[in-house]
């Protein structure tokens, strides 16, 4: 695991370099703006992955009532919030280049704004419940409830209404509309951002466990 963590930095460096140097800019996009797909989509993926991790570990907490699962779920939401904000920032940069304004209330970009609100709501709910015994249970229930409704937010609502957003990787034709170099860098970036997310999650969750242990010792 330590070797993988050490390799992550040079790997991400290679992905970033390749994103700017290897594939040609895609047709139908202004200038070099299509290169943002190597950062924007992996951030969106990491943000969604964070939510799935939070849901799974919330379910795990409700099943086993092991505080470690709550630590991981809360850490996943915190990091998901960060990646969600990065998704919005990179999306806004692209929107300004392509459509001349930072924000268009496009359904797809709005759905990620709401995902960020969802993460913030989870963290606010946790801070509002003062009882340390009830807090993980209430937070877990909210995370699972939101996980069931999230597909409507991220996948269904943007497809019910018309969107400016370019066709996604998951598209109705079921085809990946990328040439080989673009595909290689894109999936490389997806793997790199996923690895980065897991590493950050591990650090944050372990820090949360240490804080919890310190609080319990102080109480005793």
């Amino acid at each position: 695991m330590k070797v993988l963590k050490l390799l992550l930095l040079p790997y991400m460096g290679a992905v970033i370099a390749a994103a700017f140097l290897w594939p040609e800019p895609a047709k139908g996009f202004i200038g070099e703006s299509s290169r943002i797909v190597f950062f924007h989509v992996p951030c969106a993926w990491a943000s969604t992955l964070a939510f799935l991790v939070a849901a799974v570990y919330s379910a795990g907490y409700l099943w086993k009532r092991n505080p470690w699962f709550d630590d991981v779920a809360a850490a996943a939401v915190r990091i998901g919030l960060l990646y969600g904000i990065l998704t919005l920032i990179t999306g806004s940069l692209f929107a300004n280049i392509m459509w001349g304004s930072w924000w268009n209330w496009d359904p797809r970009e709005s759905s990620y704004l709401l995902l960020v609100f969802l993460y913030a709501a989870y963290l606010f709910l946790r801070s509002a419940v003062e009882d340390p015994e009830r807090r993980p249970r209430i937070a877990a229930a909210y995370a699972l409830f939101a996980a069931v409704l999230m597909p409507f937010l991220v996948f269904v609502a943007p497809r019910v209404t018309a969107s400016l957003h370019p066709q996604t990787v998951i598209n109705p034709q079921g085809k990946i509309l990328m040439d080989t170099p673009t595909r290689a860098v894109f999936f490389g970036a997806m793997a790199g951002f996923s690895g980065l997310f897991l590493w950050m999650l591990s650090i944050d969750a372990r820090a949360a466990r240490l804080r919890r242990t310190a609080r319990n010792l102080h109480r005793d």
């Binding site: 913030a120 709501a121 419940v129 409507f152």
Partner: protein
């Protein structure tokens, strides 16, 4: 006692309680009337361009309905904590049936708000409904989803701090897909079409919310 009888008993209890005190119920309808008056005074039916009218009226209608409902729907479990009856209810009725009964009451409340607001819209904003059956179906499907989600979230915030602000913050991201789809359905119904796709999405959302609320009811209502 059968399941349906117990669900109805919880619903009837909430209705009796709210009608007896009246403050909360009156506040909900007063909010809807005030918002409607403000909107119709500020905008009126003739300042809206004809092409944009269906979309704007649909959006305004659901904004008024949602915020009017948001003043009353969160009270489902909060009222039990305030009255000190939560423990008695917890010990006598299973959590899933309490949730069902309170959701039923909240659905009735939402439909009552809609029954007051829609005639106001017809008169004050000159709203022309193309397909009344579609509007009714949208109100039912949208109201049901709103009632279930609000009731469940009310159980989560019942014993938390800053309940009113907390409820709106945690409910907004979850009900927005429902509201967006309900607005899309209302726009189509105003034009005379039957909004098949948005209604299918609403029914799917309602089903998902019901299933999730049923599975998590015990956890939310646990002591």
């Amino acid at each position: 006692m059968s399941v349906l009888t117990r669900v109805w008993a919880v619903c009837a209890k909430d209705a009796t309680q709210e009608l007896r005190r009246r403050v909360a119920i009156v506040a909900v309808f007063f909010f809807a009337a005030t918002a409607l008056t403000l909107v119709s005074f500020a905008i009126g039916p003739f300042r809206l361009p004809a092409d944009d009218r269906p979309a704007l009226q649909a959006a305004l209608l659901w904004i008024i309905l949602f915020f009017a409902a948001a003043t009353g729907l969160p009270r489902a479990f909060v009222a039990e904590e305030e009255a000190g009856t939560a423990l008695a209810l917890r010990k006598t009725v299973p959590a899933t049936l309490v949730l069902a009964g309170k959701s039923l009451f909240n659905l009735v409340l939402f439909l009552a708000i809609a029954a007051v607001t829609i005639p106001g819209f017809l008169v004050l904003l000159d709203w022309k409904i193309g397909n009344a059956a579609a509007i009714a179906a949208t109100m039912l499907a949208g109201g049901y989803g709103l009632a279930v989600v609000s009731t469940f979230l009310s159980a989560l915030v019942a014993r938390a701090g800053q309940r009113n602000v907390l409820f709106v913050l945690i409910a907004f991201p979850l009900v927005l897909p429902l509201l967006l789809t309900a607005i899309a359905a209302t726009i189509e119904a105003t034009g005379g079409a039957f909004p098949t796709t948005p209604l299918r999405v609403l029914v799917a959302y309602d089903g998902a919310a019901t299933g999730a609320a049923y599975m998590l009811a015990e956890v939310a209502w646990e002591d």
